[in-house]
């Protein structure tokens, strides 16, 4: 059984249907990526999964339970944690306080070792632990947003364009870290505009176009698919 199961998901903003009844699954331990052009409905899908927009009964099931009507904070407590588009760090809180907020829902005593692990993954954050998050560079804020999400020990980590706005090297580094996080046992659903890197790292992938899933399958297979190469990897067909 899949950890995350999406059936006929629709997202509407007023009269606009941004997501038009998609199916998507993420199995435990998998790393799945969702790619597509701007405005395809990727962020809307993640918002629906994490509870920021309402969904119909049965559309989003996580860990065997229906998420309809469950508020975002309960979904996070259930282990589904999203890093939103634009990172959403608490700009006026220090790096340490941001990480503490990631661990807000946890009562166990292992918060300290987990923080040490985050600092190990992102040494830059350790150097800046007392700075307010607003003073960090874009790449550092992305590290903080991911580190903060890890602090909650998610079962499924959903990331919305984590490489957006980063220089190519920083973007590559972030994606590598996400792959390492997945290898350490965290299920990952990755939304990326950087289709080539995302497909190279993920197990499976979905391609989204105007609110619909148009292609899906093994990431490697999609990387070789001429339709994907033409539309998302900037290559001529054939």
């Amino acid at each position: 059984m899949s950890l995350l199961e999406i059936r006929g998901l629709e997202v509407r903003y007023g009269g606009i249907r941004a997501v038009k009844g998609i199916d998507l699954e993420v199995g435990a331990g998998e790393m799945v990526c969702l790619i597509g052009a701007n405005g395809a409905g990727k962020s809307s899908t993640l918002r629906a999964i994490s509870g920021l927009v309402p969904t119909a009964p049965g559309a989003v099931r996580f860990d065997g339970g229906d998420f309809a009507g469950i508020p975002a904070f309960r979904r996070a407590r259930a282990g589904l944690v999203m890093v939103p588009e634009g990172r959403g760090v608490f700009a006026r809180l220090s790096v340490e306080e941001n990480l503490a907020m990631g661990a807000y829902v946890r009562a166990d005593a292992e918060v300290q070792p987990d923080r040490a692990r985050v600092f190990e993954i992102f040494p830059r954050l350790a150097e800046r632990s007392r700075q307010t998050a607003g003073t960090l560079s874009g790449g550092e804020q992305q590290m903080l947003a991911i580190g903060r999400a890890l602090m909650s020990r998610p079962k499924l980590l959903a990331l919305d364009e984590p490489s957006m706005g980063l220089a190519p090297i920083a973007a590559q580094k972030i994606l590598q870290v996400i792959r390492d996080i997945n290898r350490s046992g965290v299920t990952v659903l990755l939304v990326e505009q950087n289709a080539r890197s995302a497909l190279a790292l993920a197990h499976r992938a979905y391609v989204m176009e105007s609110g619909e899933i148009t292609l899906s399958g093994e990431a490697r297979a999609l990387l070789a698919d001429p339709r994907v190469r033409e539309a998302y990897l900037g290559e001529a067909a054939g």
Binding site: S50, G51, L52, P71, A72, F73, R74, A76, R77, V81, M82, P84, G88, F90, A91, R92, L93, E97, A100, M101, G102, Y104, V105, R148, S152
Partner: protein, 307 residues
């Protein structure tokens, strides 16, 4: 010089009360961008409950200090309940509504609470029982009373406690996180509604203590006392930078001192055309000056800085 020192002492006392009330405005504004016009009424209810408790216990022969403590001990939970109830019943259902809706509701809540208080405690000013004998101490040509010392000490302790809660605890960090971005706080598993309710309850507790203090200071309690006091505390919050906790503390104290000095010198400065009964205009002069010269307040950040 004597009058200067005296008015500074009086102003600090009053300012401490303003600061305690201003914190309630600023914390609620910081987290849901609502000016809770009913907050002054919570102060009034604190004073009224204390009035009733002191009146009931005064003949009992209990030590006066114990009676006052019991009175505050009753006023605080009653006000916390009122604060919780107004958030739960009046403001939460309007979350996500256009900003004008909760604002008008706040005015409605304020009117309802005032009239309830009028029905319970009468429409007349009530002489607040002065059961503790007031001691006066003289120094440098000025006088400070034991009530003033108590007000200053209690406010200082409560504000230090609040600052420790907000800036040193996990819960306080969650409050600041929610104020900054409630949606992302939700993604971290923080129940924003619970944090918002808690903010109202904490503000109400401070208001309760302020109510007891201000009623003991002036020796009077009245069902409408909350509206003017609340309005001035709101001015103090704007002066410090609405939404900013240290700003509310600073704004309250400054406003109290400005008001007291203004009242002390206005006669001399205007050739006695205006007297100290004009004291109340200073808060609003300060409010207008702030809005014109520095709308973000003394410690507030630039408008637009808030995500």
């Amino acid at each position: 010089m004597d009058i200067f020192i005296q008015q500074v002492i009086n102003g600090l006392t009053l300012g401490a009360v303003y600061a305690m009330v201003a914190l309630g405005y600023t914390m609620v504004y910081g987290i849901i961008q609502l000016i809770n016009f009913a907050h002054g009424e919570v102060v009034m209810i604190g004073a009224m409950v204390a009035f009733s408790v002191i009146g009931a216990l005064a003949p009992s022969g209990l030590p006066p200090l114990a009676i006052v403590l019991v009175a505050a001990g009753c006023a605080i939970p009653v006000c916390m309940l009122v604060g919780y109830a107004m958030e739960r019943l009046a403001y939460r259902p309007l979350r996500g509504a256009p900003r004008l809706a909760p604002l008008i509701t706040a005015i409605g809540v304020s009117i309802i609470l005032q009239h309830l208080a009028m029905m319970i405690w009468s429409r007349n000013p009530l002489a607040f029982p002065q059961i503790i004998k007031v001691e006066s101490y003289h120094f440098a040509g000025a006088t400070i009373t034991s009530v003033q010392i108590a007000i200053l000490a209690i406010s200082l302790a409560m504000m230090a406690g609040l600052a420790a809660l907000v800036y040193r605890t996990r819960l306080g960090t969650a409050m600041r996180a929610t104020a900054h971005n409630p949606q992302v706080a939700g993604l971290m598993g923080i129940d924003a509604n619970r944090i918002i309710a808690l903010t109202f309850v904490i503000g109400a507790a401070l208001a309760a203590v302020a109510g007891v203090m201000v009623a003991s200071y002036y020796g009077i309690a009245h069902y409408a006392m909350g509206s003017q006091l609340g309005l001035k505390a709101f001015c103090a919050a704007v002066l410090g930078g609405i939404g900013n906790i240290p700003g509310a503390m600073l704004g309250g104290v400054l406003l109290g001192v400005v008001e007291a000095l203004g009242a002390g010198y206005i006669g001399d400065l205007t050739g006695n055309v205006f007297g100290s009964n004009y004291q109340d205009v200073f808060a609003f002069i300060v409010l207008i000056a702030v809005l014109v010269l520095r709308p973000s307040g003394l410690l507030g950040e630039r408008v637009g800085d808030r995500a």
